[in-house]
Structure formats: C-alpha cells, structure tokens
C-alpha cells in the first residue's frame, strides 16, 4: 500500500461535548460528519490535563514522567531527551511537514520555534490576530473594552476583521491547495485555539444556544469527600475582568448560577465556531480531491470542566478534564473510497442544520491514550510504527510509550 497524506487536527481544551459523543445540546455537525466516516474512540484520555505537557506528550508519544515536562518552562530536547516527534518522523520519511496554529505549545516548551526545523519543513504559521486574544477586545455593558471571559464579538469590528481560527483555516486551505497537484506526501497539522478561554468568538454562534435551554452541570458542587489536593481553583478564569467583578471567594467559589449558565453557553458556542472551521478545512480537502488519499485525525489536548465538581478548567484528573475526542478517518478503511466525485465532507452549516447527523457503528469503547496517536497515525499512513520504549527510555530517540491501535479497527472489541 502507498503512503497516505496526514491531516492532523487538534483543538484546544475540547472535551467530548460533541454530537458524536452523545451530547444532545451541542451543534457540531462537521465533526460529527467526520466521525461518521471515521473510527471513533469513545474513551480516549490525555496524559496530563494542561496544554504544554499534554501536547509534548502526544507529539513525542512519551508520558510526562519521560518528557519531564509538567509545566510550560522547559524544552524536552535539552531537559529530558532528544525524542523524535511525530511530524519529525514523517519528515524523516520524505513527507513535507507543515504546522498551522497551535500544535506544539508555543514558547519555551517548543524552543520558541514550534520545534522547527526538527519537526517542520517550513516555519510554523501562527495567525496574526492571536496577538489580540488576551487583550481588552470585548465590549462590556458599559460600552468599554474589557479582557472578559465571555467575549462574543462582531468579527467585522475586530482587528483585521478576523479571528485566529479563521485565519488558521485560511492558511491551512492555502497550504492544501499548494499540495493538491504534488505527488510528495504531506503531514499538515492544524491546531485550533478554541474552545480555550477567553470565549472570543463570533457573536452569532451564541444564537445556537438560547440561554433558557442551557442547564447547570449535573454536579455543580465540590464533592464532600474530594481531597483538597485534587481540587483546582481555576485561577485563569478568575483573572478575567468579568469574573473578577463577581467577587468569587477563593478557592472554592462558587460562581453565581446565572453566570455559570452563560459560561456553558459560550463554551458550546465556541465548540460550534471551531466545528465550522473544521468543516471549512475538510470541505477544502474534499474539493481538492485529497480526501481519497489523506488520513484525517481529530483530537484535543485535553478536556475542560464545565462546572462539574465546582470547577471551571482543566488542571485535574477528573474525566471531564482528561477525556478527549479521538477519531481517525482512513480512506478505504473507515469509509469507502469515493471515486464518483461525490462529496465526502461537504460543509454543514450549523445554523441551517435541524437534526443531529452522527451515524456510525465504528466505535471503540475500550480505553486508549493520546500517546497512542503517534504509532497509530504512522501505521495508518503507511509507515512503520515506532517500536515500544523500554522501561527507561531517556536515551532512546525514537520509540513510543503508547500502542498502535490500528489493528483493532477491523476487529470486534474484547472485554
């Protein structure tokens, strides 16, 4: 079998609040459509529920105890070992490797270069509009601009008339077009910034979620028997201007119920906005006739607590913070090849979609981990999966602490 291209899509702080994971409220038609043609892992978990350690773990296929990265402040190649990354492996096999948006965690954690040139054929692309992401961009009730948590905006009034994930999608589509007539395989990684806070999103997405239809988390209180060490006080949320005004007590809160509802509304809206960008990207893949030759992987770095256990963040070992969506589209394996020119991934407009559309019996319920992604994608693309790491692997440049899950795609689950 020949080599396949890879489109690796990673969202930021996306829990399994998707139609294809059984969430009846969220509108995620494009990801659901991808899931309908993919192998979906219903119980996939991150190794640490915060961005830099999780992304470094996914991309090196090593656990945090091997990357020794538990915060944002070191680069694994000098801190623990010169581990080969997933894109680096593809690059070494002749792939053109490209990074758009947030794939590696930026800054020290990726040597201020997104691990270029080790991992990427050209420098990573970052959307210019991300410069404004944490600034005062949200119009408050007083008519002034604030650095709010809840930040639904009129995109035309934003600098450049755009938002980071829109820009990233534009760039990714541009790169796909440049590859469409090239025989050399590519590995394109696209990292979306949403639904990470702040919820700086196009305001129209809020209309998908009328506030009267939003409910509180089923378990909004801190559990009585939860050890204090297990609780996280969600300090990043507290720092936003609109949350500071609520004068919430530290560390346990709680957030007023009406504001809890609005956070949940904005999170869901951010998911739908990100889903639309995924839809744009996949429809471009389709239109360029690349969907018959490209493996698509969709996942997230970790989840996010939407008020469960009185928490509003990642930073914990709870399932809502560690469970992630994970799906693999493999043309000819998870879906029939489409030789008739029919659309595999037509863009679905959430504003015009009346019902959920997920339909798939290709689901895996057993536990898998994000360290499994590297060996699985390698194998699915037509490369050899890296060998298993020994118990101590600091000196091993290329190995995996995960498992190649491709062999279970066509076999019923046991256990």
């Amino acid at each position: 079998r020949g080599r396949r291209n890879v489109l690796f899509i990673i969202a930021d702080d996306l829990r399994t609040s998707l139609g294809c994971y059984g969430d009846s409220l969220v509108k995620s038609p494009n990801i659901d459509q991808l899931a309908s043609k993919s192998q979906v892992f219903l119980n996939a978990y991150a190794q640490q529920s915060v961005c830099a350690p999780s992304r470094t773990s996914i991309l090196t296929s090593r656990r945090p105890d091997t990357t020794r990265l538990y915060d944002f402040k070191s680069y694994w190649r000098v801190h623990s070992g010169n581990y080969t990354t997933m894109p680096q492996y593809f690059k070494s096999k002749g792939y053109l490797t490209l990074s758009v948006g947030k794939v590696f965690h930026p800054g020290i954690a990726s040597n201020h270069t997104d691990d270029y040139p080790y991992s990427w054929s050209i420098p990573a692309y970052h959307p210019a509009s991300f410069t404004y992401e944490k600034k005062k961009m949200c119009k408050g009730e007083d008519g002034k601009l604030h650095a709010n948590l809840l930040c639904a905006v009129n995109v035309t009034q934003q600098p450049g008339g755009t938002l980071p994930d829109m820009e990233s999608t534009d760039e990714a589509v541009r790169l796909l077009k440049s590859r469409a007539s090239d025989d050399n395989p590519f590995f394109l990684a696209v990292g979306f910034h949403k639904p990470h806070i702040p919820f700086r999103i196009p305001q129209e997405y809020l209309s998908l979620y009328p506030i009267e239809e939003i409910t509180l988390a089923p378990d909004p209180d801190v559990p009585k028997l939860l050890p204090p060490v297990a609780y996280n006080p969600w300090t990043d949320v507290r720092r936003r201007d609109d949350v500071q005004k609520l004068n919430i007590s530290f560390p346990y809160g709680p957030i007023p119920k009406d504001f809890q509802l609005r956070i949940r509304q904005h999170y869901y809206a951010a998911v739908s906005y990100m889903d639309a960008q995924v839809g744009r990207l996949l429809s471009a893949l389709d239109e360029l006739r690349l969907s018959n030759s490209t493996v698509v992987v969709f996942t997230s770095d970790h989840g996010w607590s939407l008020g469960e256990h009185g928490e509003w963040a990642k930073y914990s070992n709870f399932d809502v913070a560690t469970q992630v969506p994970l799906m693999f589209y493999v043309p000819g394996v998870t879906s029939h090849r489409n030789w008739r020119g029919e659309s595999t991934f037509p863009y679905i407009d959430a504003f015009n979609q009346s019902q959920h559309s997920f339909n798939n019996d290709k689901v895996i319920k057993n536990m898998v981990e994000l360290v499994d992604v590297f060996p699985t994608v390698s194998y699915l693309a037509g490369l050899r999966a890296p060998k298993r790491c020994p118990d101590v692997s600091f000196q091993e440049e290329l190995c995996t602490e995960g498992a190649n899950r491709a062999h279970i795609f066509r076999r019923p689950e046991r256990g």
């Binding site: 119980n43 996939a44 978990y45 991150a46 190794q47 640490q48 529920s49 915060v50 656990r63 945090p64 105890d65 020794r68 538990y70 915060d71 944002f72 402040k73 070191s74 089923p218 378990d219 559990p223 028997l225 939860l226 050890p227 204090p228 060490v229 297990a230 609780y231 996280n232 006080p233 969600w234 300090t235 990043d236 530290f250 560390p251 346990y252 469960e308 256990h309 963040a313 930073y315 914990s316 070992n317 709870f318 399932d319 560690t322 319920k365 057993n366 536990m367 898998v368 981990e369 046991r414 256990g415």
Partner: protein, 94 residues
C-alpha cells in the same frame, strides 16, 4: 492484548490544599503528583510525594487517594477510597 484496557494520567500540585499556583505549579514547586489509573469500571488516583529535583515519586508518601466506581457514580462525585483495601490497587498502580 488480552489484558485489561487502562489509561493513565497525572497531575502535579504544589501543596495539599488549593493555593494560587495549584493549577499550574512551576517544576521547582511541585511537591505532590496525582497518578490516575482508569478502567471501564473505576478511576483510582493516588496523590504521592514528588521530588522535583530528582523527578522521583515516593510511593510510601500517600497524601490522598480517590476511587470512583463508575457504574454507580459516572460523574465521579462519591469518593469511596477510604472504604477499600488498597493493597491490590497499589500494586496495580505501581
């Protein structure tokens, strides 16, 4: 292949009680590491002493534990750690 499917995660903490840097402690401030083992049936977490200079975890220094039985408690709200004998779980985890 015939073994029980499990997943592992971990999270660091600077102290036993929540403080300003509990969410994201710098490496030098990490004193405790919470290791979680998940199966279909349960999540078991041990919060163990951790040395950020040597990266060593002290399995005899247990700061706290969590055990959630997912069939009856899918939201992980009822910690039954203190109701169980931990010798088997401890062996499995370590």
């Amino acid at each position: 292949e015939n073994g029980e499917a499990v997943s592992f995660s971990q999270y660091p903490r600077p102290a036993n009680t929540p403080q300003e840097n509990s969410d994201l402690p710098d490496l030098k401030d990490i004193k405790i590491m919470g290791y979680s083992l998940r199966t279909w049936d349960y999540r078991y977490t041990l919060w163990l002493g951790f040395n950020p200079n040597t990266f060593q975890v002290n399995v005899s220094d247990v700061h706290a534990g969590e055990l959630y039985m997912l069939a009856s408690d899918p939201g992980q709200d009822n910690n039954v750690y203190s109701d169980f004998d931990h010798s088997v779980m401890m062996t499995k985890m370590t």
